[in-house]
Symmetry: C2
Subunit: 183 residues, 2 copies
């Protein structure tokens, strides 16, 4: 098996397991079993578990933001694009196996012990906040709107994860609409 293919299989398995059950409760042996890649090769690709965790978060970051941006760009106007973020959250929350925000969960699990994981979580959240800010700027709205929209989105992610419901997305969207169009 090609090295690149093995790497992808390992990351696929790691993502499913880490996201679904938490990082600390998944052993490297489970990653091996789910990926079909032997421990020897696994450790050649990722010399320690922490590096596998980093690679998992990094690849998921790219995909997550890519999916969001692709969804948002389908909307024609800048105003609609801002609200589309919350529509996408609702879709995401409704997906089978949704278990909250991978970065918030990882931060709860490892933020206090692993600086690298903590830094990656901060980078991901900063990127998401910056993306929201860019949408707000593109719509010609005051930059101060971006912060509250970000907080609504974060609150919705946490709450959807804990309550296993898609409803927070709709609530957040409605609040965002009110902030954008004060009556």
């Amino acid at each position: 098996m090609d090295s690149a293919v093995a790497r992808e299989r390992v990351l696929d398995a790691a993502e499913e397991l880490f996201y679904g059950r938490g990082i600390q409760s998944v052993g490297m042996d489970a990653v091996r079993g789910a990926s079909g890649v032997s421990l020897k090769r696994l450790y050649q690709l990722f010399p320690a578990k922490e590096q596998l965790v980093e690679a998992y978060l990094e690849r998921r970051d790219g995909r997550w933001r890519g999916r969001l941006a692709a969804f948002v760009e389908l909307r024609p106007t800048p105003e609609e694009r801002i609200l589309a973020v919350f529509d996408w959250l609702e879709e995401w929350f409704g997906e089978e196996g949704f278990r909250g925000c991978a970065w918030i969960n990882s931060y709860g699990e490892l933020g206090a012990t692993s600086d690298r994981v903590a830094a990656q979580v901060r980078a991901h959240k900063r990127a998401f906040a910056d993306y929201l800010a860019s949408l707000v700027a593109a719509a010609g709205r005051p930059a101060a709107l971006a912060g509250p929209l970000f907080l609504l989105a974060e609150g919705a992610m946490v709450t959807a994860g804990i309550t296993r419901s898609t409803r927070p997305a709709a609530e957040a969207r409605e609040a965002a609409r009110l902030l954008l169009d004060p009556r």
Copy 2:
């Protein structure tokens, strides 16, 4: 040493350690060392670590909501009381050793593996949401306001924890003010 005193010492130590470093990375031996209570007694009081974790979350829940309510009740009018929640969050975020919301963190760490912890997190968040709803009702505002305020507060807690900043509280407060007083 009295049993009740030992119990309090154990819970004090557990709270400091679990909240500060995460639950899984704190061994029972560390709790013993920090509390000065022998392992034998510790296991008489809490027959397993999970029960200590539950007791920690439960005691913290009572104290947390008590502190919030006490702060809020200092404000004379129902409108001010709603915003006071965010003022209190800002104070809390600024405290030495603040590391985000203990329940959100615990959920990230154990939500997928421990049903009892997950249930306790849900109960705590429901209680907080209900409290916000009661403040909204007392102010004679539409009940639909409570959800967004809750999401803002949750988003602020997560973001303050990750970024180690008190700023999200002020942002959330300002957004809450706009939702309450649309111009």
